[in-house]
């Protein structure tokens, strides 16, 4: 079976995010009021071949934590869908 995976990587809560903070500071000047707690991150998508959803999830999660995210400062969120 083939699955579409999407992994979102963001800095852990509590870790300073200068990119998100800079975006947030720019918002009032652009007319976007009432927007708070901006966090920047990255998104990855890839396809995984596996026997079932559990195996695909395990493989994708390991890939996310060993490579896509640096667990010292980042966390990842995985979404999986059969295709």
């Amino acid at each position: 079976m083939r699955f579409q995976a999407r992994v979102e990587v963001q800095l852990r809560p509590g870790i300073a995010d200068p990119e998100g903070a800079t975006i947030e500071r720019a918002l009032p000047a652009l007319g976007f009021d009432g927007v708070a707690h901006v966090r920047a991150g990255r998104s990855f998508s890839f396809e995984v071949d596996a026997d079932d959803e559990g195996a695909a999830r395990q493989k994708a999660a390991e890939l996310a934590d060993r490579l896509l995210a640096n667990p010292v400062i980042e966390q990842s969120h995985l979404e999986l869908e059969a295709i």
Binding site: P18, E19, T22, L68, V72
Partner: protein, 226 residues
């Protein structure tokens, strides 16, 4: 026989010749090592120099740590061999788990290329053994991701075990505790963001990096004799 310093070249490394030049000015012998090799050869110390290994894609150091030579570097470090990561090399050492913590984007999101004022805060490392505590050094920095960060427990263990070897006088990148360089528990693996090889001649503005590279040569000599 001269002391041999292996300098690892990844695709995108760009400070390897500066390191070799500085090492040879100090009487050592520099030897370039290709990242795709699996052996270090007969070197007495290893330097991971600065640059943009693997284009810094994903995160600085994230892909370089999977380069074939890194297993040999880890084994050399585990056996007590001196290993120093400069700038991008420091980022690679943290990604590889040879040093704790991580290097984030600079606090003000600025690429910094300027002299930095440093203070030696520990001499219990292969990079600072010939320096003295409190010694002030002027050595250039040249990075976008040099903002050292780690969890509070790790920070305490670095502080308590005398593993913070260099601090910035004015902390230009926002590093926790103004950290510019740290060592592992054994003091034989060191990472630092400043470039000592660029402060190795009065011609280029400073010779303050020589005490650090001289320490490394001394440690390499001692480690080879042991």
């Amino acid at each position: 026989m001269p002391t041999r310093i292996g300098v690892v070249v990844f695709p995108g490394t760009n400070c390897e010749h500066d390191v070799v030049h500085a090492v040879e000015a100090l009487g050592g012998q520099g030897e370039l090592l290709w990242h795709g090799d699996t052996h270090l050869g007969l070197v007495d110390a290893v330097v991971l120099p600065g640059g943009f290994a693997h284009g810094d894609y994903l995160r600085p150091g994230a892909l370089a740590r999977f380069s074939p030579i890194m297993d040999a570097v880890s084994q050399f470090a585990a056996a007590g061999g001196p290993v120093v990561g400069i700038c991008n090399g420091f980022q690679i050492l943290t990604e590889a788990g040879l040093l704790p913590g991580a290097l984030q984007k600079n606090g003000r999101l600025r690429f910094l290329c300027q002299p930095s004022r440093l203070t030696v805060t520990s001499t219990a490392s292969v990079l600072t053994r010939q320096a003295s505590i409190g010694q002030e050094l002027s050595i250039p920095i040249n990075h976008f991701s040099g903002n050292y960060t780690c969890d509070p427990t790790t920070l305490r263990s670095l502080q308590d075990a005398d593993r913070i070897v260099l601090r910035y006088a004015d902390n230009p990148n926002g590093s926790v505790d103004a950290i510019a360089g740290i060592a592992n528990e054994g003091g034989n693996v060191v990472g630092l963001m400043p470039h000592p090889e660029r402060a190795a001649s009065a011609l280029t503005g400073s010779e303050d990096g020589l005490v650090l590279l001289g320490s490394l040569l001394d440690a390499a000599r001692a480690s080879a004799a042991a």
